[in-house]
Amino acid sequence: MRILTDVNIDWLRWRWHALAFSWLIILSGVWLMATRGVPLGIDFSGGTLVVVEFEQPVTEEAVRNALAAVPGEKAVQRYGEAGQNQILIRLPQGTETEQGFALEQQATAIVDNLQKANVGKFEVLSTDIVGPVIGEDLQQKGIYATIGSLFGIMCYIAFRFRPSFGVGAMVASIHDVLITLSFLVFAGYELSLNVVAAILTLVGYGVNDQIVIFDRIRENLRTNRREPMNVVVNKGVNQTLPRTVITAGTTALSVLSLYLFGGEVLEPFAFAMLVGIITSTYSTVFIASAIAVLLSDRKRSAAPAAATTQAATPARPGRKSGRARAS
């Protein structure tokens, strides 16, 4: 069985439409983040999160009433599967400093008040207490790690292919990250450690598609010396289309399983991955290759000898002699 063979779509023709579409999503995401603030989970914002399981069913209202005496803006919601009687209680970072053991007070207050109130027997399933020092530390690390991996991958691609491909890959990856963030905000998920992990993974995953297509483009550049860059790029995207679609499909399938069965903790992670996989496929086709063409064209007109491209493109073993320019 073969799908999507002999397609001949002029992908580059649609690049401006695609760009406008992407900007629309990113800008609305950014607008939402700007007006509502980036929703940070307690990993980054600090605070207290307690999950309790009651022996008998309880209403969120009853739990909320039981906690009336606990200061702070409490979030009380159902957790886990239906019928498990699990309730998640979250308190934002209080005014306590981290001097001594002050941070613990919120969690202790929650448990004490639940015990005093008449809401039935319960068991504390998990407690997360994150202070501002750790929260800030994780925020910083998350930002550094994202920038670091974007930059590291760009360097690798620039080294293995052409600098223009490296830039194309990085712009496409940033695009993926922003789109995924926007969808997370649309869907009301918070930014947690797991979500940042998903985003970092996406940076690596998205580049896979790009590498496959870039590789094909490079191969085509070598065999079709006379064709202009945009034709070669279109051809590369079309030739790899079956692979691109099937891979995205199967990876999405496996991540879908994670989304459905992986439990509450991994749900935001799986959601981010799902959105990211679709986005990265789209951005590879429309964004990365378009940027590669754009940058290559400029380079060629600025330096007709194209010596720079030649020099900056490292050879793979045994292939040096076959290297050609696309002019």
Binding site: S126, I129, I134, D137, A197, G204, T247, T250, L266, A270
Partner: protein, 518 residues
């Protein structure tokens, strides 16, 4: 079957067998993270400033004694800061300098005459902070070991002065925390005056001008004095610097006091016993305050000279007496702790998470399996073998390396399935293209594998770069994810290329194939 192919087959079977042997049975060979096993993860910060303050105050007290002996007059001598103290209104500068010469090794003196500010030398301050954290770490280690937790982690963490403690499988988290962070600073001091009913009363006894070498410490009223009522808080004036501390302890154990109530008995080491003997001998009929973490537990009257034995009484439960002996034995923390982060997972939640993770991984595998078999037919079987081999190697390596499996680690397994499929799809699609271009089966397969080899290397390196940053960024659970992802990537290069190709070639040598089911 040619010789080369046979060796390759043997290698593959050996790798699979080794992998299975490494992780079987998984329940005992695969390390589970705190999020799956249950337990507590804590990050604390050592208040190193407090340790520096103690050092500065001790120096001030010693200097006060030296100056008294040398008969040097001054108007003020006190610690102003954790690392600074000031001396003002010195009468005889020459004599002062001579007497204070010893201090100069640790503190640098400001210029001038008559009044000085002493600041701790920065390199020594750094060293002292470092030592304090190391000591705290060692103390916590001893306590955790005494608690009997299996495979605990006690380590320096992230930024300066932070300590990470992980106790897997601990169910009584509250007690574990209490034991770990109890400063357990034991001090034995002679009561200068007291007890007073309020702090104000204590200060008034000194006309509201407490001498700088004294402090007022709260404590419980003696149980005997209340006649059975609830003891109220009373206050004692004691010297700032203790003659005997927890460092002079040889051991501590739970015992019973004269009323048969739980208490803690301690004995002092040789040096401590000698000083304690001297102290008690000189202060017969005065009260000895037994102070734990700045609270007077009891203040018995010294009847006679005591050398090496003592008892801490109070209203302890059996458990409390036991825990207190444990923390006293392990030594005091050199400084109090600040609590920065805690993540506690109950065992039942961990079991739920394992179930969810396994369901998701198996579900993902099944979904992908169905699709691949449907789309690639017989060649899909080949892809399946390589993906399953990949997962086996991943499990085996995790067990062999002692890597920790976490809930996000299951996501790593699922992505490994995705990546495995990706590589196979890449190869198969290329083979199809070559077949469509009219190449014979064998040539098409060879071309397919050869052409995509570097593509696969590039994609895997790029993903490994991301995984490396992920590992750097993450805490426990995320690290588990990064680890499983990285191992899965490495194993995939082997399975997608080597295993898959070997299977193709195996089929081709068995029979002459004109068309490929792909």
């Amino acid at each position: 079957m040619n010789k080369n192919l046979r060796w390759r087959l043997i290698a593959i079977v050996a790798v699979i067998a080794l992998a299975i042997w490494s992780f079987y049975p998984p329940a005992s060979k695969v390390n589970l993270g705190l999020d799956l096993k249950g337990g507590v993860h804590m990050v604390m910060r050592v208040q190193t400033d407090a340790a520096l303050r103690i050092e500065t105050e001790t120096t001030v007290e010693r200097l006060r004694e030296t100056l008294a002996k040398a008969n040097v007059q001054y108007s003020k001598l006190e610690a102003a800061d954790p690392t600074e103290f000031v001396v003002e209104g010195i009468q005889n500068d020459q004599a002062f300098r001579q007497a204070a010469a010893e201090v100069d090794t640790v503190f640098s003196r400001s210029s001038g005459a008559g009044s000085y500010t002493y600041a701790m030398r920065p390199n020594l301050a750094v060293q002292l902070r470092e030592e304090t954290v190391t000591q705290a770490l060692q103390t916590i280690e001893r306590r955790v070991n005494d608690l009997g937790v299996a495979e605990p982690v006690v380590a320096r963490h992230g930024a300066a002065n932070q300590i990470l403690v992980q106790l897997p499988g601990v169910t009584d988290v509250a007690r574990a925390k209490e034991i770990i962070r109890n400063t357990a600073l034991l001090e034995l001091k002679i009561v200068e005056m007291g007890p007073f009913p309020t702090e104000e009363a204590a200060l008034q006894a000194y006309n509201n001008a407490l001498p700088p070498d004294l402090v007022v410490v709260p404590g419980s009223e003696d149980v005997a004095a209340t006649g059975g009522g609830t003891p109220s808080t009373v206050y004692y004036a004691v010297r700032r610097v203790p003659p005997i501390t927890g460092r002079d302890l040889r051991t501590a154990r739970p015992s019973l006091d004269q009323n048969n109530l739980p208490a803690v008995s301690f004995s002092l080491n040789q040096d401590g016993a000698r000083r304690f003997g001297q102290l008690t001998e000189q202060n017969i009929n005065r009260q000895l305050a037994i102070i734990l973490d700045n609270r007077v537990f009891s203040a018995p009257v010294i009847q006679s000279r005591i050398t090496d034995e003592g008892q801490i009484t109070g209203s302890f439960t059996q458990q409390e007496a036991q825990d207190l002996s444990l923390v006293l034995r392990s030594g005091a923390l050199p400084a109090p702790m600040d609590f920065l982060e805690e993540r506690t997972v109950g065992p039942s939640l961990g079991a739920d998470s394992i179930r969810a993770g396994v369901t998701a991984a198996v579900g993902g595998l099944l979904l992908v399996m169905l699709f691949i078999l449907f789309y690639y037919r017989l060649a899909g079987l080949n892809a399946l073998v390589s993906i399953v081999t990949n997962l086996l190697i991943l499990l085996g390596m995790m067990a062999y390396l002692g890597a920790t499996m976490t809930l996000p680690g299951f996501a790593g397994f699922i992505l490994t399935i995705g990546i495995g499929v990706d590589s196979n799809v890449l190869i198969f699609e290329r083979i199809k293209e070559e077949l469509a271009a009219g190449r014979p089966v064998k040539a098409a397969i060879n071309a397919g594998f050869d052409r995509v080899w570097w593509t696969i290397v590039d994609t895997h390196v790029a993903s490994l770069i991301a995984a490396a940053f992920l590992f750097q960024f993450g805490t426990g659970p995320i690290r588990g994810f990064a680890t499983s992802l990285a191992i899965g990537l490495a194993a995939n290069v082997f399975t997608a290329i080597f295993v898959s190709r070997t299977i193709f070639e195996l089929v081709l040598t068995r029979r002459r194939v004109a068309t490929l089911s792909i």
